[in-house]
């Protein structure tokens, strides 16, 4: 882990330059420019709000549009980081074959790039909160830590996925499908509170309820989204019981994923 940090520090300028390249390339010849970064979450928020008016989802004390937007922000950040991270090595074939630098630069840069787009979405979130007259509390200071945790979760998928993708491009095809399934398994459209009520309070699945809830929260996104909504919208501290299982998943899988990436790395130039 220390070596990773050391490498990252040595190559920090390259990471920044590559991130700047990613952003600039994407928006250079687009009339709307960086505004595209907010269009996706805003559109989804509008759609979900319309859907919600038919189905009826209890959003608690928070207005549904803000709640769903606050869920979409970490979710879209995670989803796009992971899919860009997985494709980052293959899409830089020209560099991989010509120049050496630690290959983890690519997934890390891909995830880092998405941080900038996430930052822009905070402007929209603030506008929405102001519209509904919501004032954040001191708990909002948790946000940087929650984002860091999301970065680590995205890297867990990126490292292993990027390495596999070099050998089998199936990975790049399968990932969007898996990620869109994962969205329904994460409290994006509905708040975590609903799942909690169903399983822990009403014991809907009988004696399996506790276990099911644990399984549900093994998905780091369950804890992340809920914590983000808590600290920004509800003025509450993060719900540790929902965060912990997911954090455990990341703590176990991230080192494995990174080790796998480093092992595969030496053959990237030969097989890519």
């Amino acid at each position: 882990m220390i070596r990773v940090a050391q490498n990252l520090y040595d190559y920090r300028e390259l990471v920044f330059t590559l991130a700047w390249k990613n952003i600039a390339v994407r928006y250079k010849q687009a009339f709307l420019g960086i505004a595209w970064a907010v269009i996706k979450p805003v559109m989804l928020m509008l759609i979900f709000t319309v859907v919600k008016s038919f189905v009826g989802i209890d959003s608690g004390s928070v207005p549904y549009p803000v709640l769903v937007f606050a869920a979409l922000m970490p979710w879209i950040f995670f989803q796009e980081s992971a899919s860009d991270g997985v494709n980052s090595v293959v899409s830089n074939t020209a560099l991989i074959k010509k120049i050496y630098f630690p290959r983890e630069i690519f997934p890390i840069t891909a995830v880092g790039t998405k941080l900038i787009e996430l930052g822009i979405n905070f402007v929209i979130l603030a506008t929405l909160m102001a519209w509904y007259g919501m004032v954040p509390t001191a708990h909002i200071l948790w946000v940087p830590l929650i984002i860091l945790y999301t970065v680590l979760a995205a890297l867990t998928i990126s490292f292993v996925g990027a390495a596999i993708n070099v050998y089998y491009r199936d990975m790049g095809q399968a990932l969007p499908v898996l990620l869109s399934l994962m969205m329904y398994l994460s409290p994006v459209i509905y708040p975590l509170q609903l799942v909690k009520d169903k399983l822990l309070v009403q014991q809907a699945a009988g004696e399996w309820s506790g276990l099911l809830y644990m399984l549900y929260t093994l998905n780091p996104l369950a804890g992340i989204i809920d914590a983000f909504q808590n600290v920004v919208l509800r003025g509450l501290p993060p719900d540790w019981s929902a965060l912990l299982p997911g954090a455990l998943t990341v703590a176990v899988l991230l080192p494995l994923s990174y080790a796998f990436f480093k092992r595969a790395e030496s053959y990237f130039a030969d097989v890519i």
């Binding site: 390339v25 010509k98 120049i99 053959y267 030969d270």
Partner: protein, 428 residues
């Protein structure tokens, strides 16, 4: 301590395509069960290569396509990992393996300089400092804020070369980058490389097919063949060995597939043409300085009035070296229909060692026209004894007979006559 130390370096590649997911899974299953697995054959791109390079050495690597040169460079630049053996590199390496890797078409020249330079390992401050010099060298001041996608390919390469050679590194790896841009810029690149090598005392590894360049730049040359270093030594010796080897390959190749240019009006046909030295049997390998005879067999279909024959020699890349003409010999003759033999004697042939082909054509007068033209005929090589190949006389296509003399002009009175060396001049 050597700058680069390579010991028993081997790199194997699997032949054929990557296995499908299904095959991989099946093979993994077989391995688990202990059954034999069907392996694809391996190819050794590098086979037990060992050498070491001292700091400040300029080493050229030559060899024909597929000999393992680029694979070796990739190992040194850490782009690829050896199958076995080790590579030790002491110092920062700048690979110019292919200039312009990672240029982004949508970026301006300036943005690409920053991007490319930081990919090559330069810090922002370093780039700021060198930007003007880079732009100036690439002759790009006018276009530096235009997106690179609007550049011509030559402009892109110029900019990339300027960036790549501005890196301060102890070790420079150069793979075929000197052949960029137009002639004037090539000259500039050449000078830049020379100054990098000569004045800054860097360790340089240069891979090129331009053997003359390698011979000029390097203090040591390695010849690679089928994944091994087959020769390692002084540039002249190694390059000459490579030339001899290449000449033979060229002759053998062109002899197998003679596809010269042919133009004929049908009045005369070329049946046979060959060279021989001394003995009468056709020979494809002539010795420098021997008497050569060309034998030509023609089939004349309708009689030739006042013909002129031309016999020329050209290199395999169609540089016409010399032409001899029958001139007045057949000027007042008529050659009747039938098969005729013509022979041409070239005493003490002064062609320098290399690979050549023959060219033969026939003109007639009244009206003047060309009735037969053939080139790339009878590919042959001229050889010399191995030690004399590096003779300075052999730089060029052939030796001119010359007489030298010396005189000391008495221009400045008595002083110059006392210093004969100062006034030395030669007359051809």
């Amino acid at each position: 301590m050597p700058a680069i130390e390579v010991s028993h370096l081997t790199k194997e590649y699997r032949l054929g395509a990557l296995q499908s997911l299904k095959d991989t899974a099946l093979n993994a299953g077989r391995r688990l069960l202990g059954h034999p697995v069907e392996e694809r054959p391996m190819f050794k791109a590098l086979n037990d290569v060992s050498f070491s390079i001292e700091p400040g050495e300029v080493v050229g690597i030559i060899g024909h396509n597929g000999a393992g040169k680029s694979t070796l460079l990739k190992m040194l630049a850490r782009i690829s990992t050896p199958t076995s053996g080790s590579v030790k590199v002491d110092g920062r390496i700048a690979p110019l393996i292919e200039v312009g890797a990672g240029f982004v078409p949508d970026f301006t020249g300036r943005e690409n300089v920053y991007l490319n330079a930081s990919i090559l390992g330069m810090s922002k401050r370093e780039i700021d400092r060198k930007l003007d010099e880079i732009v100036d060298f690439a002759e790009m001041a006018e276009f530096i804020d235009t997106p690179v996608k609007r550049y011509s390919s030559g402009m892109q390469v110029k900019l990339a070369f300027a960036v790549a050679t501005s890196i301060d590194s102890e070790i420079l790896i150069v793979d075929e980058v000197l052949a960029v841009g137009d002639l004037a810029f090539q000259r500039k690149c050449f000078n830049r490389m020379e100054s990098l090598i000569k004045s800054q005392r860097r360790t340089v590894l240069l891979v090129s097919h331009n053997i003359r360049q390698v011979e000029r730049f390097c203090s040591r040359v390695m010849l690679m063949d089928h994944g091994t270093v087959s020769l390692d030594g002084l540039p002249q010796n190694v390059c000459n060995a490579f030339f001899d080897y290449s000449d033979k390959r060229i002759v053998a190749q062109s002899a197998r597939s003679a596809t010269g240019k042919v133009a004929t009006t049908g009045e005369v046909e070329l049946l046979e043409i060959y060279l021989c030295d001394g003995v009468s049997a056709p020979s494809r390998e002539l010795v420098y300085g021997s008497d050569i005879e060309a034998h030509i067999t023609l089939k004349v279909n309708s009689s030739l009035e006042k013909p002129i024959f031309y016999l020329g020699i050209h290199t395999t890349d169609f540089v016409k070296v010399t032409t001899t003409t029958s001139g007045e010999t057949f000027r007042h003759k008529m050659i009747p229909a039938g098969v005729h033999k013509i022979s041409v004697r070239l005493p003490k042939c002064q062609l320098t060692p290399g690979a050549y082909s023959l060219r033969f054509s026939v003109d007639v007068e009244d009206p003047v026209k060309n009735v037969l033209y053939h080139d790339s005929l009878h590919p042959f090589s001229v050889r010399s004894s191995p030690e004399s190949r590096s003779n300075p006389e052999f730089e060029g296509f052939f030796l001119s007979p010359a007489t030298w003399s010396q005189s000391t002009p008495n221009l400045a009175g008595e002083r110059s006559s006392q210093q004969p060396e100062a006034g030395l001049h030669t007359v051809l």
